[in-house]
Amino acid sequence: MSGVMVDIRSVHKSFGLFQALRGVDLQVRTGEVTVILGPSGSGKSTLLRTINHLDKVTSGFITIDGELMGYRRAGDRLHELKEREILKQRTSVGFVFQSFNLFPHLTALENVVEAPVSAQRRPRAEAVETAKDLLCRVGLEEKADAYPRQLSGGQQQRVAIARALALRPKVLLFDEPTSALDPELVGEVLDVIKNLARTGTTMIVVTHELGFAREVADTIAFMDGGLILEQGPPAEVLDHPRHERTRAFLSKVL
């Protein structure tokens, strides 16, 4: 369980003249949870989106379980993969969005079944069984036939987590999964993520929930200005931050 699952090497990302990422290095070990903290605009979400190639890196590279994401290496060149190959790679990365992005015209169950059937070509009956199990796991077995608009924000995000899990991904990415939720709904979503952490799912979570980070994270990385300023176990980063900016951020959030 000690191999590196996600390996981010010297990743830069620019949008025009704006440098969102300015050389990020991060290793996430198999079965571990990494929480990324940082002020808004620090590049957290961009980093997450480069991992599954929703945003293309400007330079640097990312591997998942040893496989280069979005590119094929030939000598000292990285050739970008075709859309179809990138889509295939993405099935090994689960992504949970801040705004859920459930498909509103499909029921909760259909939302979870869609990708395993169309992207992984699994038999529908089997995918439906898996989907029911997953909805059960996030506590929504009785909401299988509900449409997203008939669900609360917290329930929608739990369906979105089940949908991401349905592909049996090697790693799960959470982009501020509770930021769009009413305060009383945050707990139910965090509980689901905590359960996943306990079962040894490799995860990278961008969040502002410090309590959650302290409880679940194996590693906390603090980002600002497109760089990881410091990283380490929660006790270290949260209680004895070395960097001035980390201290300033924590004092504001706490």
Partner: protein, 310 residues
């Protein structure tokens, strides 16, 4: 604003009467007056339609289901179907080209829309009808190279196809914009979520984007389809016996202009009615998930009312 209710009194009264107070809806005398006026006008119109002999209802009755009229209606329906189906298929292609990342495809799509929206339909139809003058042979082969076989344009494009093609190509320019508007109405997060799940591109469009786009496509598309039913009357210039042409043929023969125009009116009304009902149900189908609960259809409501009576 003044009020008779003093706070102390209000509190006291509320405890007593809150449940027994009766709510009286506001009266709308003007609305009643307007309704009365409209009723009189409707009665006058009805009276005029029935009593004025010039409408010539017996002739209307005689020709409404006459064989040549029925086959003209069939042709109108065929032209509409051809124009709408081909038009929207091509329109969807144009919309996809327009949102593509290739600047050339975007430019071609834009130019097509520009040209075909600019030129009047009647002019386009005449162009297609006279295509044989421009190119009397169509040949299939290597572009700019040898030809494998050739066909006479006249035999390849009979009047029906010239008309159908003209309607479809014209419709495509509008349909493209309608479909594109539909695509734009779908949140970008939907495409992104589908991509993040690794769903194949064609399926992202067909299963995720299009069904959601349909909600904003259908009302405008229905307008276009109904427009097309009536638009087919333009092909009378190609001497195709569709509804409008056919009633003209009949009334130039027997001189009964008004009743035959009424025959055409009745059929256009009937066709549009069928389409409007179809639109209602198609819209309902695509609003699944968009509303928390679907409103019952008129049929369901009627059945429910009947059950309450019995």
């Amino acid at each position: 604003m003044t009020s008779d209710l003093r706070p102390a009194e209000t509190a006291a009264e509320t405890e007593f009467d809150a449940a027994s107070l009766k709510i009286v809806p506001a009266r709308h005398p003007l609305r009643w007056f307007a309704t009365a006026v409209v009723l009189v006008l409707v009665a006058m119109a009805g009276h005029a339609l029935i009593t004025n002999k010039a409408w010539d209802w017996p002739t209307f009755g005689a020709f409404l289901f006459q064989k040549s009229v029925l086959s003209a209606v069939a042709l109108t329906v065929e032209l509409t179907l051809f124009g709408v189906v081909a038009g929207f298929v091509l329109g969807t292609v144009l919309a996809l080209m327009r949102v593509s990342r290739s600047p050339l495809l975007r430019a071609v799509s834009w130019t097509y829309t520009w040209v075909f929206r600019s030129v009047p339909l009647i002019l386009q139809l005449l162009f297609w009808y006279n295509l044989a003058i421009l190119y009397n042979q169509l040949s299939f082969g290597v572009p700019f190279g040898p030809s494998f076989f050739a066909v006479d344009t006249m035999s390849l494009i009979p009047p029906f196809f010239a008309a159908g093609l003209g309607l479809a190509l014209h419709q495509a320019a509008y349909a493209g914009e309608i479909v594109r508007a539909g695509f734009l109405s779908v949140d970008a997060g939907q495409r992104e979520a589908a991509a993040a799940l690794g769903i194949p591109t064609h399926r992202q469009i067909r299963k995720i984007v299009l069904p959601q786009a349909m909600r904003s496509i259908i009302p405008t598309a229905a307008n276009e389809i109904i427009g097309m039913v009536k638009g087919t009357s333009v092909v009378y210039i190609m001497a195709l016996p569709e509804l409008f042409y056919q009633v003209q043929v009949i009334y130039t023969r027997n001189g009964r202009v008004i009743p035959l125009l009424l025959v055409a009116t009745a059929w256009y009304l009937a066709l549009t009615t069928v389409l409007s009902v179809a639109q209602y149900y198609v819209e309902r189908r695509y609003s699944r998930g968009a509303l928390r609960t679907l409103a019952p259809t008129p049929l369901q409501r009627a059945r429910r009312a009947l059950r309450q009576v019995t």
